[in-house]
Amino acid sequence: MSLRLEGLSAGYGGIPVLHGVDLEVGEGEVVALLGRNGAGKTTLIKAVMGLVRVYAGQVVYWGQELTPLPSYRRAQLGLGYVPDDRRIFPELTVRENLLIAHRPGPWSLEKVYRMLPRLQEIEHRRGGLLSGGEQQMLTIARTLMTNPKLLLLDEPTEGLAPLIVEEIARLVLELKREGMPVLLAEQNLRFTGRVADRAYVLETGEVRLSGTMDELLHKEEVAALLSL
C-alpha cells in the first residue's frame, strides 16, 4: 500500500473541511478523487502533502506515519505534489524551474524533455511567460524531477484545451505503465475514466462512494454527486 488515510479530518483555521476520510492507494494504482467544487479534493491532497492542518486521523505512506513531518520532508520521502494552480516560479526559466527540483533517480532533465519535447523548445523562457498548457506540462515535469514514488495530481486538466488534455492523459498512462502510484483529483469524468483504476467520490468532505472506475461510471448516483 503506497498511501493510506485513516479517519482523516483536516481544514483551515480550526474548522474541519474533511471529516474522517478513509482512503487507500495501492502500489502502481491510479486512484481518482471525484467531487464537485468545494467537496474537499484539494484540501485532501494538501493534507497528504502537509500544507493544511490535520485535526484527527493519520496519513500513512509506505507504512510511515507522515502527520508530524513538514512538507519538505514528505517530498524528500517521495511524495510528488502537482498543485491545481500550477505555481510555476515566474522569474525562473523553464530549465531552472526543472533543475531546482531535481533529486537523484531515473527522472532527469533528458528524460523529462524526451517525454515533453515542447519544454525543451522553451527551456530558456521565463515561467511567467508560458501558456496555460505549457505551465501545466512544466508543473508536472517539475514534480517528476523530484523523482517521486507517489504522485498527487490536483485537477491537471482544468481549463485546458482538448489536445493538451490528451497529452496529459498519455503522460499519466505512461507513468502508470512504469508503475507510479497516482492520486488524482478531477472533475473531468472522461479523462478520469481513461486513466484511473478506482475512485472515491467526495461530498462536503466525506467519502460518499468508492469503487472501480467501471462500477462507478455505471452508477446514477455518481452523476448526481458530481453535477451542480
Binding site: 502533502m49 500544507l51 513538514p70 512538507s71 519538505y72 517530498a75 524528500q76 505534489y81 498543485p83 505555481r87 516560479f89 515566474p90 522569474e91 525562473l92 531552472e96 533543475l99 531546482i100 527540483a101 533529486r103 517539475r142 514534480t143 523530484t146
Partner: protein, 293 residues
C-alpha cells in the same frame, strides 16, 4: 576646482555608496526571500564596526584578521538570531516583525553601550592604505578604492551565487513561492537561516569596513537603518540590483550635493526617495505588485 577634484568627489561618493550597498543589500535580500522587514538591520552594521574594533584591539595592524573574524562572527550571530527570534514569527501578522526587530535594535544598542561605552570607537587606516594614491595630481585616500573594490567584489559574488548556483536559484524561487519550493522537497527553513545569516554578514562587513573612516557609536544603528531603507525604497525592496543602484545614487547625490548646495545635502536622499515613491512606488528596479493568476 579642477577635474582631479571632481574625480575625488566621485570616488568619495562611490566609497560611501559601497558601504551603503553592503548595508542595504542584505535588508533587500532578507525581505525579498523571507518577507521579513528587519528594522534591526542597521544594528548589525553597527555590530560589525564594534566587532572589528574588538577583534583588532583598536590596532590598524589587526584589520585583516579582524575583518575575517567579523564575517565569521556575523554569520553565526545572524543564524542564531534567525533561529531564536525570527523563525517563530513567520506565520504571525506583520506587526510582530516590526515589534520584534525594533526590540532587537534597542537591545543591540544597549548591549553595545554596555560593552563598549557610549563614546567613539575608531580604528586607524590599515597600513596597506596609509599612503594616498595620486590621480591627475590629486591625492586620493587609497582606502576608498579598497571600499569600492570590496563592494564590487561582493556584488559580483552575490550575482554569481544567485544566478549561477542551485542554492541561489532556490533563494530566488523562495522569493516567488516559498510554500511550493518547500513542497518540492527543499528545506526552506534552513535556506532562510542561510539567507538571513548572509544578509547580516554583508551588513556587518559594511559597518566594519567603514570603521577606519568613521568612528563607531551606539547611535549609528538608527542612522544606518534609515539610510538602508532609503536605498532599498529607491532601488526597489527585494531587488539586489535595486540596492546597488540606490546606493550609487545616494552616494553620488551626497558627494556632489554637498558641493553645490551644502545646506541641502542632508535633504537630498529623502527628496529622491519621495520622488521615487510618487512616480514609481515599487522602486526603480523593483517589481510592481502583481496579481497572481
Amino acid at each position: 576646482m579642477d577635474l582631479g577634484f571632481y574625480l575625488l568627489q566621485l570616488l568619495t561618493g562611490l566609497a560611501y555608496a559601497s558601504t551603503l550597498f553592503l548595508l542595504a543589500v542584505g535588508l533587500s535580500l532578507i525581505f525579498g526571500a523571507m518577507g521579513i522587514v528587519n528594522f534591526a538591520h542597521g544594528s548589525f552594521y553597527m555590530l560589525g564596526a564594534y566587532l572589528l574594533y574588538a577583534f583588532s584591539r583598536g590596532q590598524a595592524e589587526g584589520f585583516w584578521t579582524g575583518l575575517i573574524l567579523v564575517l565569521a562572527a556575523a554569520l553565526v550571530i545572524g543564524a542564531l538570531v534567525e533561529r531564536l527570534f525570527i523563525r517563530p514569527i513567520y506565520r504571525r501578522p506583520e506587526e510582530y516583525q516590526i515589534l520584534l526587530t525594533y526590540a532587537l535594535l534597542l537591545i543591540l544598542e544597549d548591549l553595545v553601550r554596555f560593552l563598549f561605552g557610549a563614546g567613539y570607537r575608531s580604528l586607524p587606516t590599515p597600513p596597506a592604505f596609509s599612503s594616498p594614491l595620486f590621480l591627475l595630481g590629486t591625492p586620493f585616500p587609497s582606502y576608498y578604492l579598497f571600499l569600492v573594490g570590496l563592494a564590487g567584489l561582493s556584488a559580483l559574488l552575490l550575482w554569481a551565487f544567485l544566478y549561477r548556483t542551485r542554492l541561489g536559484a532556490w533563494v530566488r524561487a523562495a522569493t516567488q513561492d516559498r510554500e511550493m519550493l518547500e513542497a518540492l522537497g527543499i528545506n526552506v527553513p534552513l535556506l532562510y537561516t542561510g539567507v538571513f545569516a548572509m544578509g547580516i554578514a554583508l551588513a556587518a562587513l559594511g559597518g566594519a569596513a567603514l570603521l577606519p573612516l568613521q568612528a563607531a557609536t551606539p547611535g549609528m544603528a538608527v542612522d544606518a537603518v534609515i539610510q538602508a531603507f532609503i536605498v532599498v525604497v529607491i532601488g526597489g525592496l527585494g531587488s539586489v540590483w535595486g540596492a546597488l543602484l540606490g546606493a550609487v545614487l545616494i552616494g553620488l547625490l551626497q558627494a556632489f550635493g554637498i558641493l553645490f548646495l551644502p545646506e541641502m545635502a542632508m535633504v537630498f536622499p529623502f527628496a529622491l526617495m519621495a520622488l521615487v515613491l510618487l512616480l514609481r512606488p515599487w522602486g526603480l528596479l523593483g517589481r510592481p505588485p502583481a496579481v497572481r493568476t
